[in-house]
């Protein structure tokens, strides 16, 4: 199940492991992404708190964790090729995986349809 936050993160959970990144809308708004400050493995992820920072030519933007858990994997491709977040924000441009996640934590987040209508309201 893929869910979306108001801060424009996406998250999908499979077997208590969450994969997350920023949405296509966020990537387009930021413009050319020049750097992703990846979290480190074993970092704690806390729902609603800053997990990482995505930088574009003009600005740095916080990415908040949509879940609680521990970082199990980061997308090392982004170190040399952060523009993957622009070209494939919700697939190849994933940022990290967080393990030990309780699925019900994302029940309150938006579905794809709800997120689309949220974007239309902005």
């Amino acid at each position: 199940m893929k869910k979306y936050t108001k801060e424009h993160e996406w998250v999908s959970i499979e077997d208590s492991v969450a994969t997350l990144g920023i949405t296509a809308y966020a990537a387009k708004e930021l413009g050319d992404i020049t750097f992703v400050e990846l979290p480190e493995e074993d970092d704690d992820a806390t729902q609603g708190e800053v997990l990482t920072v995505v930088e574009s030519v003009k600005a740095a933007t916080d990415v908040f964790s949509p879940v609680n858990g521990t970082v199990t994997e980061v997308n090392e491709e982004l170190e040399d090729n952060p523009q993957l977040v622009n070209s494939s924000p919700e697939e190849d441009g994933w940022i990290c995986r967080v393990g030990g996640v309780d699925k019900t934590e994302i029940d309150d987040l938006m579905t794809e349809e709800e997120y689309k209508s949220y974007l239309n309201s902005l």
Binding site: G31, D32, T34, F35, E37, E55, V57, K58, A60, P82, N86
Partner: protein, 370 residues
């Protein structure tokens, strides 16, 4: 009704799907769909067209006007022959920078000043207050449109428009020409570090000139975002970042360009600018090791983690593939090129070293055309 002013090219930007942002009281294109980095590379390799109609233009005219301005501006104006443009500074009585500007010597007794959009009105008040009664001052900003064509191919484009290379102005020179019937003041100046030209035309005809220039396959539009990354990569100051009313041109490292040591005339705050003890900070270029950028306002530390300065501009350099920054460092802690520094980060500090300007050294701005 928008609270921001729009240039005559506003509709062109919308049809090119530009992202519009407020800048200096104007609604301006920050980027087009290809994005800042693509626009940056296209300017360095080919040629880009920028809408700079937001900038202000003043005409100053009267007996010995150049000698009068020579006593106002820190860089010599009287020695500037007609046909030459010079970068100069409008100063407060304390010698701090109220604006940076270009001064064109048009004629024996006529000068043309090009100023930043955000400071235009306060510049006009300041300059008028300093001019004697027999020198006229006219704000021509509303009736003049301005475009910048920048990039190594820009002279080829002009050649295709019938201006042979030997008729193009030399670096920091200008002349009058015509492009498809549009009278143009053509100046070989710019803000990118590449071969390039600025075009001053009647505001009513600037859209026509835009269409002519953009019709070339080699020419793509570029916005304020690329304008900023291009200027920073060659270490040019941006008013509001490196220059402001708390900073003198000497602190910004511009003393040699002004040739302050050789200036004979008395100009505003000359006693301050020629006294080295006024220098409290030194503009310092920094190359960081990684891609993460330092940002305006970040703290600079030396190798023993003493806080010694503040970042004025910082970004990821598309050409150098790493982050670069300009910072003011306290004069008594100033560092030579090669010195290690740290930018204080929220999570971890960013390591880097002091370098020489320009960051990007391959720019074509001074290239000889004939």
């Amino acid at each position: 009704m928008s609270e921001f002013k729009r240039t005559p090219l506003y509709e062109k930007h919308l049809s090119l799907k530009a992202k519009m942002v407020p800048f200096g009281g104007w609604e301006m294109p920050v980027q087009y769909p290809e994005g800042i980095i693509a626009e940056h590379h296209h300017t360095r390799r080919v040629a880009s067209l920028f809408d700079t109609c937001h900038m202000g233009e003043f005409r100053i005219k009267g007996p010995n006007a150049a000698e009068v301005l020579d006593k106002i501006f820190p860089r010599a104006v009287a020695s500037q022959k007609p046909g030459i443009a010079r970068y100069n500074f409008l100063l407060s009585d304390r010698g701090t920078v109220l604006d940076d500007l270009l001064i064109y010597r048009m004629d024996e007794d006529e000068l043309f000043l090009v100023v930043n959009a955000g400071t235009k009105d306060t510049d006009a008040e300041r300059i008028k207050s300093l001019l004697p009664e027999n020198i006229s001052f006219e704000d021509k900003s509303d009736s003049i449109g301005k475009l910048d064509l920048q990039g190594p191919k820009s002279a080829d484009i002009l050649e295709k428009l019938g201006i042979s290379k030997n008729k193009l102005p030399a670096f920091y020179h200008w002349n009058r020409t015509e492009i498809k019937g549009i009278p143009v003041l053509l100046s070989r100046t710019g803000y990118t570090g590449e071969l390039g030209f600025e075009f001053y035309v009647d505001a009513d005809r600037v859209a026509e000139l835009w269409d002519i220039l953009i019709s070339f396959d080699d020419v793509k539009p570029a916005g304020l975002g690329a304008r900023d990354t291009l200027r920073l990569e060659i270490g040019m100051a941006l008013y509001g970042n490196e220059l402001d009313d708390k900073t003198t041109p000497i602190e910004a490292g511009l003393g040699p360009m002004i040739r302050i040591e050789k200036r004979k005339a008395d100009f505003i705050a000359k006693d301050i600018l020629t006294d080295p003890s006024h220098v409290k900070k030194v503009l310092t270029p920094i190359a960081l090791e990684g891609r993460k950028a330092a940002r305006h306002g970040d703290t600079v530390m030396n190798s023993v983690e003493e806080e010694i300065g503040t970042v004025t501009s910082g970004m990821f350099s598309p050409l150098m593939k790493k982050a670069i920054a300009l910072a003011y460092i306290d004069a008594d802690k100033k560092l030579d090129p090669g010195s290690r520094i740290l930018i204080k980060g929220r999570r971890k500090n960013l390591p880097g070293e002091v370098v020489d300007l320009p960051f990007y050294k391959e720019g074509t701005l001074r290239i000889k055309l004939t």
